[in-house]
Amino acid sequence: MTIFEGRGLSVRYGAVKALTNVDIALEPGLVHGVIGPNGAGKSTFIDGLSGRARVSSGVVTFNGEDITARSPRWRRRHGIARSFQRTSVFNSMTVRHQLEMVAERNGESDLASLVDTLGLAPVMDRVCSEIAYGTQRSVDLALALIGDPKVVLLDEPCAGLVQDESVRMLQHVRDICREREVAALLVEHDVEGVFRTCDRITVLNLGEVLASGEPAEVRSNPAVVQAYLGSAA
């Protein structure tokens, strides 16, 4: 059952078409990956879906309701959260302080288990700017997952992480989405990680959909192999 959908989404920056006619449908408990080379429009896609960038045509729906013109704040209050490619945390606050602040706003009932799952318990009372980069990424993810959102849009949660951290991060994403029945969109550079983690995959190239479907299907798609995966496939 689709809970969150983007239909025919296009985003323009002036004369530049950053995204053209892209469709996506997210379902609870499933992780939908979006891959593509640099400049393919992945971040623009998330910006359009989350209300950060203005959509020039197309609609975004949530539970069947058209929410294209809704503010980021409205979306978050109604269960659509996102994370950012560049770590976007509150640097001068302690981890506890910021998680509690967002939890109070969004009514999180089980922060303790989220904190435990993401391994944040040991750093709760440390100021965010002083903790390791990988842990900051987990705080970023926690900020998006607080308050039982129905949809999370994750913009390269593994950016800047080493292989081990990256594997663990994607595992968390998958586990939490299944456990909490969250519909997730995962934009990621780590192609193998996406194939390992996601239930469905969309490949973007130059702002357009190159292929979309189950991981195996996408991996064997000749257009994808030729344009993007190359010999690695």
Partner: protein
């Protein structure tokens, strides 16, 4: 699952956090409020002794001027500390309130007490109007917008059309003989030692108000907005409204200072609306320390005293400039800010020197 979506659940982050732990946490939080409130109460009481300690009438006048400027410095410092915004337009509320006292008493025959209340309301309304116009901007844009709006009011006060109301550059004499303010007669209001308790206690009430605002949940939201506004919006927070509220609160504090100035000086001039006044307050706040609540208050008193000394030497601006450069170079957090940093550094070094009584075993997960 459905429980999570309704009501405001109680937060317990410590895994397996028991009732007693929660209670301890609550006590710890209350203790913090009590300590802070207690410190402000003690400082208020100590401050009441100032007229007995300062013997010369001239110096008492200077210290009182410092306290009046402290309202403006405190209000500008509040916005800088909690939102990272520097306003040069707060003179509009300071001067606006002062003029309201003058006009209220002179033209509408208000008693000083009524004029004071009306002036604070008018100053706060001006803050609301300016706030609506500037609150969406940040950084340099905010600074320039507040400067422009403040200067617009200054220019307006000197226009021919405003002369019957403001007296333009001649200013406005205020006849305070028509009533009392908190029991003070005209003579007492203009006497620095007798006016001191009123100004000092009101300043401390404002400081307490701003301190509570800063430490409350609302203050946390302001901190979040200062740190990362975009993330706040994407975390479900309204970011414009808290900014506007903070702006109006700080404008109200500036208005109280302006109204007190008018009652003490019995004279209002356009200089009160000029951005040089805001410059004085901002410099004072920086010298005292923008990052500490008491910084702007301390800075304002030091600033006024120093200005008086520099002025007698005949090189006011040269010495002010040199003093500011020295503070910025050697005490980058301001005088109180640097002092606080030094004390904190010493305390944390001492804490590190004493080994913790119980060493926590590190869990295997931490090492993975």
């Amino acid at each position: 699952m459905t429980d999570n979506l309704t009501g405001a659940p109680e937060l317990t982050i410590t895994p397996g956090g028991s009732d007693s732990q929660t209670r301890l946490g609550t006590i710890a939080r209350h203790r913090h409020w009590l300590v802070g409130g207690g410190i402000i109460a003690v400082i208020t009481l100590l401050g009441l002794a100032v007229p007995y300690l300062v013997s010369s009438k001239f110096n008492m006048g200077l210290v009182l001027d410092g306290v009046i400027l402290a309202f403006l410095a405190l209000s500008i410092g509040f916005l800088a500390r909690h939102l990272g915004l520097i306003s040069l337009g707060h003179t509009a509320f300071f001067g606006g309130a002062a003029y309201t006292v003058g006009i209220g008493i002179g033209r509408w025959s208000m008693t000083p007490t009524v004029a004071f209340v009306v002036a604070v309301v008018v100053g706060t309304l001006l803050a609301l109007i300016m706030g609506v116009l500037v609150v969406r901007s940040t950084g340099m844009t905010f600074l320039m917008l507040t400067l422009a709006l403040g200067q617009a009011l200054y220019q307006f006060s000197t226009q021919r059309i405003a002369i019957p109301w403001t007296g333009a550059h001649d200013g406005l004499q205020i006849d305070l003989s028509g009533g009392t303010f908190l029991g003070l007669t005209q003579k007492s209001m203009m006497n620095a030692a007798l006016f001191w308790p009123v100004a000092w206690v009101l300043l401390m009430v404002c400081a307490l108000w701003l301190w509570i605002t800063g430490r409350s949940r609302f203050g946390t939201v302001l901190e979040g907005i200062r740190e990362n506004e975009e993330r706040m919006r994407f975390s479900g927070f309204n970011t414009d409204l808290p900014r506007l509220i903070a702006f109006v609160v700080s404008g109200c504090v500036a208005s109280i200072g302006g109204a007190l100035f008018a009652l003490n000086a019995a004279y209002v001039s356009p200089e009160l609306l000029s951005f040089t006044k805001a410059g004085d307050a901002l410099t004072a706040a920086i010298v005292g320390g923008l990052g500490v609540l008491a910084g702007p208050i301390f800075g304002a008193i030091v600033y006024v005293l120093a200005q008086s000394r520099f002025n007698t030497s005949g090189n006011l601006h040269l010495y002010t400039g040199i003093a500011l450069v020295l503070v910025l170079m050697f005490l980058p957090g301001g005088i109180l800010g640097s002092l606080e940093k030094w004390v904190r550094g010493r305390l944390s070094r001492r804490r590190q020197a004493t080994p913790p009584s119980t060493s926590e075993p590190s869990s295997p997960e931490d090492q993975s």
